[in-house]
Symmetry: C2
Subunit: 324 residues, 2 copies
């Protein structure tokens, strides 16, 4: 089989998942461009199926299973978008989904996963609780586990978002993406190398979950044990696999505060008129701070998703950003 | 000159304003379609320049002035999107704009109008205050007044939104629009007659500002003196001109409560992942209530705009709609 992380591997992944995903639109705002002095192109994965890019990787992994493996069903543990993605991928494949969700996951997310027909098993809130419950479930049902990011099939799937962006905006010489576990960011780096080799790729990470920035600075992987950020999709640590890809291909990681994330989020709601989750605002927050370095350039930003809990969001607490 | 309210008049209006407007996208949601049992196509004027359809009518009116009239500048009184539209139309034409805004208009809207370079004159909060202040300003500067809806040039401009919708969705046999002063609704009726004569057009109006529904029922124009609705863009009364068009061409007006508007608004944020103002949710609220009459049909909905004051909106108070 072809190496999934090469140009051909990503192209084949894109064809493989074609029926499972939307080709999401790009948007821009002359007001945002004027404020930043940068021409910003937003890749809108909030309009993706299940409301986030995660369906790309999950459906690629599901399609790459053998018929026997797939027939046993798909499994994962997640409190967020990856749970919905695996549930949806299983439904599209006509096989069962077994999702372990922590007891503190939002009611609305559990309802969404259940809505796709998945069987939910509740675990304790800690990551070790999820993993042990997942092992119990897998012992029982022998389904195929799909990791949210530590998996080449998943990374190649996530790479298709940036691949589309480069086709939609060939002039994007800079791209910003968000860094959580590193699946989307790794895919973005590999897509740039394959489809837009002149493009420089930057990562953006919340200060309160800065394991990737610290790992790249140290030259070896460092994990955070305590995380604190409103960007709930970016609280996970890199794996050895994603660390190694980012170490080799990512230009730099810029870290931002929750205040900066909130201001960027507000700008997206007010100016682009779209609903995104806090994690999606992290790359714009980084670009706002560092905008003088990118003056006059065309910069692509990957908005990762739009699954926000409207009962919890309070946009009024965030000040509009101020520009000098 | 050709009659502005005919097919040719609307076509010429569309060409005339081509450089001033965006061809806005349509969006749909399989989740919303499944909930309603109706295939709903949303025409997204929240993505329009100035964030609302109003730029269509204002720029058409501005372009139809003689060079001498235009050079004297454009004027209007408005607390909302029409103020921004006239300010933007003036800037595009390179002429001054004189906008009367009531003292209680939101700071953010005044900032937007000022951002387009308009001169703002503050008036008292009542409609009579605005009109008297407007007369004073016009006496001083002799600019060309553009009414927000009681104007054929404006109505022909607003008609271009539905004209685009019919080109994007020729299968839309039903269209819902919001009714405030009746400019957009009149334009939508006339566009249907000209470009999609088989399409049936419905209006949606807040119960707390139901002058149009009551007027059509009575067969003569009735004005509301007290209005009470979260749909702040729909608080105005019809004019004789818009009443006459709606009386002849509109199938029916469906009125909805603020609770129903809130539920529809939430569905738009959660499922379409876009930011719209409360007025935009009124047609969907009407369709949700009357959905059984439209089962299996393809229904176009015009989302009028996305200029919402995020400091004031509180989505958490609105329950998600329940479907039987």
């Amino acid at each position: 089989m072809v190496d999934l992380l090469t140009k051909t591997g990503i192209e084949e992944s894109h064809r493989r998942i074609g029926n499972a995903i939307h080709l999401t639109p790009i948007l821009s705002s002359s007001a945002i461009n004027a404020l930043l002095g940068v021409e910003v192109i937003f890749k809108c994965e909030n309009f993706q199926k299940i409301g986030a890019f995660k369906i790309r990787g999950a459906s690629n992994a599901a399609a790459l299973l053998s018929p026997e493996e797939r027939a046993r069903g798909l499994a994962t543990h997640s409190s967020g978008n990856h749970a919905q993605a695996v549930a949806m991928a299983a439904r599209l494949a006509g096989v069962p989904a077994y999702i372990v969700m922590p007891s503190n996951s939002p009611r609305v997310k559990r309802a969404a996963v259940r809505g796709y027909g998945a069987r939910i098993t509740e675990s304790g809130p800690r990551i070790e609780d999820r993993e042990s419950t997942m092992r119990e479930v897998l012992t029982e049902v022998n389904a195929s586990f799909i990791h949210p990011y530590d998996d080449e099939r998943v990374i190649a799937g996530q790479a298709t978002a940036a691949k589309e962006l480069f086709a939609q905006c060939p002039e994007c010489t800079v791209v910003f993406g968000p860094v959580g576990g590193g699946g989307l960011m790794s895919g973005t780096c590999l897509a740039a190398r394959s489809f837009s080799p002149g493009t420089v790729v930057y990562g953006a990470e919340p200060i309160g979950a800065d394991d990737a920035a610290r790992s790249l600075a140290a030259g070896h992987r460092i994990t955070n044990t305590v995380v604190d950020t409103i960007a709930d999709g970016l609280r996970t640590n890199l794996s050895d696999r994603t660390f190694d890809i980012l170490r080799r291909h990512l230009e730099e990681i810029i870290t931002v505060s929750d205040d900066e994330i909130g201001s960027a989020l507000r700008l997206i709601y007010e100016r682009l008129k779209i609903v995104v989750e806090p994690s999606s605002a992290v790359p714009l927050a980084a670009l706002i701070r560092e905008r003088h370095r990118f003056a006059g350039k065309r910069v692509g930003i990957i908005l990762s998703g739009g699954n926000v809990d409207l009962d919890r969001i309070d946009l009024s607490i965030w000040k509009s950003p101020e520009f000098d």
